[in-house]
Amino acid sequence: MASAKSVSPGAALLRTSRLFSLPAALPQPRRDEAANYVNHSETATEPYPTRQIIATTSWSRRIGDWGLKRPLPIKTTTKTTFPMIKVKQVDSIEAITDFGPATDHGITLRKFQEMNLPITIPNHKGGMNLPRKSVFEDDFDFTAVPAGAAKDDTDMRWKFKGPWLAGLTDGELQKYIQKHVKNRRPEFRLFLKTKLAQEMNETAAQKAKDSGEEAAPAEIDASKVTDVQLTNFLRRLREDRPRLYKLVSQFLDLAPIGPPTHSSDMWKAEYSTTPLTITAGNPYAKEGPPITHPSAGLSYLRTASFLENHPFYGPQAKHTPVEARVVAPRFSNGARGAKLGVGGFVTNVPGGESTFNMSRVSADIRQERTPGLERLDPSIKGGAKIWVEPLNATVNSKGQTIITVGETDRKAPEIAKELAGRDAVVEEPPVPAQQSRASVLQRQRPSLGASVLGSSRTYGLTPGDLVIEQ
């Protein structure tokens, strides 16, 4: 064990230092070649951060002290609201510290955490908005496989020793075979012998059972399997491709590959009979396993099933909505549809029957209800923005964060705006003096919000308390 090796006190101390605890940089995100050709940008924000963000206290920042080899230039590091940097080289050959700003990913993370979104495992059941499972559920959250666990249990893993064959190029596959597969031939033969011995034992036991023998036959060891038997087994396996693939992937610990599917498969018998909520097989089989833990460290929430409480209006049916920027209006974006920017992530407009997909009304009405979403509206100051409710998020195998948003109701944005101190919600009209007891009770129910379990009245608040002084 390396850690048990005795080292000098200084070296042991250095292992705990902040410099040594900086994680190694991740490889650069692989860009889509086709997209690269058209919209290639050197300054574009990468889909995920590759380096640790470093921050410092305001006093230390003023003297350029970031805990690195040398003080960083004060001019460039103090003219930013959020001091965050990422260090490319602690010391370069030019004897300078190579660093750059890290606000892009740092602020995106803050915005993401503000949305209270759990990360869910990917769902490939079409566009249906079914409830999703968190990546922290015991079925999927494998950080270590227990020693005695059967292989079938570990099929839901997200990390494998071998590659995901469907994602390899031809060259990569050849290199992998040359480097990692070829030299393991004797090992594989032994593995097959073990499997064959197991099979022979099972067959013998079954045979003995069928013929009514009481004592089970003696079990054969892998070493007892002859080469002739193994060659015959190999011949059989060559005929049985699925079983061969299963054995090979078991031996090399390959990431699972999903069965070839087509949209027409959706209507086949097995699809239509099995309930959609049951996820069959590994969730990463279709697009490949993720490059990090499926949560990517973005969020550690297990669920979004909680109720928000408002001090004045009581518990809310909808979560606090966020303002999404219309990144691309529908009209100019062709088949890709309108795109929204939510907290720094680009996402699709909510699917299904909603304000965003009004098919039966005219374009003018659509433009009126969701200004700037249909076509670019240059008259909107600062660009078109729409209130949406973030529902869940997934990190795909490329490391991209995919946020799903839904339509929010009419009142939630108003309450959110009021909480942020922007506009006050229009106050309810005063109760007339002459009225029945029942109507008084009805009036006392809060007009906004969905539940009456608690309200501002029970807290002793009045609407005036919520008016924020400007």
């Binding site: 250095l14 370069s92 050959i93």
Partner: protein, 409 residues
């Protein structure tokens, strides 16, 4: 004793020669007390007997860091609710939470540590060397490994060498040497000033004028000098001597950035002045006499190292002054001063003899004692004075044994 104004105004004169203490490894005990000088018992113009000489050295007159007088901060009027405010402050001071571990960024500069622990060195980035492409292979003995593309300096080596350098600084200060702290990178000004303040040394934070040591007669010749006694008080009566005195050179140079100060280190080695330097992995350790392998780019590392060395100098100075108070002077008169005193005594004797002869010729023998010279003690007076001095020393020591007496027991 810290010369600062000159450094700010004239970069060329930033290095100030101050005294001519010779670095000796022997301590000399004199029977002279400073009281005799300060009380005027010994007139400055009349040099005493060589056996009874004043211990004196040459130094620069002390100057304040800022020549600008501080603004008068006396309150013109009392604010209306001042008393009430103070009362309330006193009443509510104990309320609220108590912060145990508070990060005070400048604490290392204010309170330098006496010794740097490994943790402190690591926390202050002392272990971060240069990029592996920039290394000087002579530093391989200090390098612990490679991480993040840079060499990692072994913390044990840094601590060990720093301890040795601190010991050197302390002893040089104890024997009355002049210590110069040099740090010419931006931001190192408060660090070297603080270290010099502690060690009663000198500092340089601007450009080193090439030749300040090797060509010092031209560069520093016009600057004033002064002679001080073992308690660092100025001694008058050496004006004649100071006129033809050469400018002083440091006895030890501490350099925080040796790479930029290569000419200075070269001059030091030419004049046999020992140097202490912070050597990063790209520097040549042969440039300095005593190396401290550490990161020389970080200001925090420089603060720790200069602070430790400054504290060591402070300890040495305190020890020296304590011993001087007990009558034990750790340094000898420089040879030039010694010769000057001898010549002065000879001149005086000749003058007195001439005067006595003249008086004898004129008066034909008066009643006065023959050996009496005005302002110089005769033999009986000297014995009485020495007895008084011994009594005074007994009183100061309070019955404690002197260091030299321990061997007799």
């Amino acid at each position: 004793m810290i010369l600062r104004t000159a450094a700010v105004r004239h970069g060329r004169k930033a290095f100030s020669p101050s005294s001519l203490r010779s670095l000796t490894t022997q301590t000399t005990t004199t029977t002279e007390t400073p009281d005799a000088v300060s009380e005027g018992a010994l007139p400055p113009t009349a040099p005493p007997e060589p056996a009874n000489s004043i211990v004196s050295k040459v130094t620069r007159p002390p100057q304040r860091w800022s020549a600008k007088p501080r603004p008068d901060k006396t309150i013109k009027y009392m604010p209306a609710d001042w008393t009430r405010y103070k009362e309330q402050q006193a009443r509510t001071r104990s309320l609220g939470s108590r912060i145990e571990l508070l990060h005070v960024p400048g604490h290392l500069l204010k309170n330098p540590p006496a010794e740097a622990s490994l943790e402190m060195l690591m926390a202050n980035q002392a272990h971060m060397g240069h990029s592996t492409s920039l290394w000087n292979p002579a530093n391989s003995r200090y390098i612990c490994g490679v991480r993040e593309g840079i060499h990692i300096i072994s913390l044990e080596k840094t601590a060990e060498e720093l301890r040795r350098a601190a010991r050197v600084v302390e002893e040089v200060a104890y024997y009355g040497g002049i210590i110069l702290f040099v740090g010419t990178r931006p931001g190192q000004m408060p660090i070297v000033v603080r270290a010099a303040e502690l060690a009663k040394g000198y500092h340089l934070f601007s450009k080193w004028t090439p030749g300040t040591i090797t060509n010092r007669d031209q560069i520093l010749g016009s600057l004033p000098l002064m002679v001080v006694d073992e308690m660092d008080r100025e001694v008058d009566g050496f004006d004649k001597h100071l006129l033809d005195r050469r400018p002083v050179v440091p006895d030890l140079v501490v350099c925080l950035n040796p790479l930029e100060n290569y000419p200075m280190l070269r001059e030091c080695s030419q004049e046999n002045i020992p140097t202490i330097g912070v050597i990063d992995t790209n520097a040549d350790p042969g440039m300095v006499t005593y190396t401290i392998p550490a990161n020389d780019d970080s200001l925090r590392t420089a603060t720790v190292i200069a602070g430790v060395l400054g504290r060591a100098g402070q300890r040495g100075q305190q020890r020296r002054l304590k011993d001087a108070e007990l009558g034990e002077v750790t340094w000898r008169n420089p040879r030039e001063i010694q010769r000057f005193l001898e010549i002065q005594a000879l001149l005086k004797a000749a003058e007195d003899e001439a005067a006595a002869l003249k008086a004898e010729a004129e008066g034909g023998g008066s009643g006065s004692h023959k050996g009496d010279m005005p302002g110089v003690m005769n033999k009986e007076q000297l014995e009485a004075f020495q007895l008084l001095q011994d009594l005074e020393r007994e009183r100061r020591e309070g019955g404690r044994k002197r260091r030299g007496d321990e061997d007799d027991i």
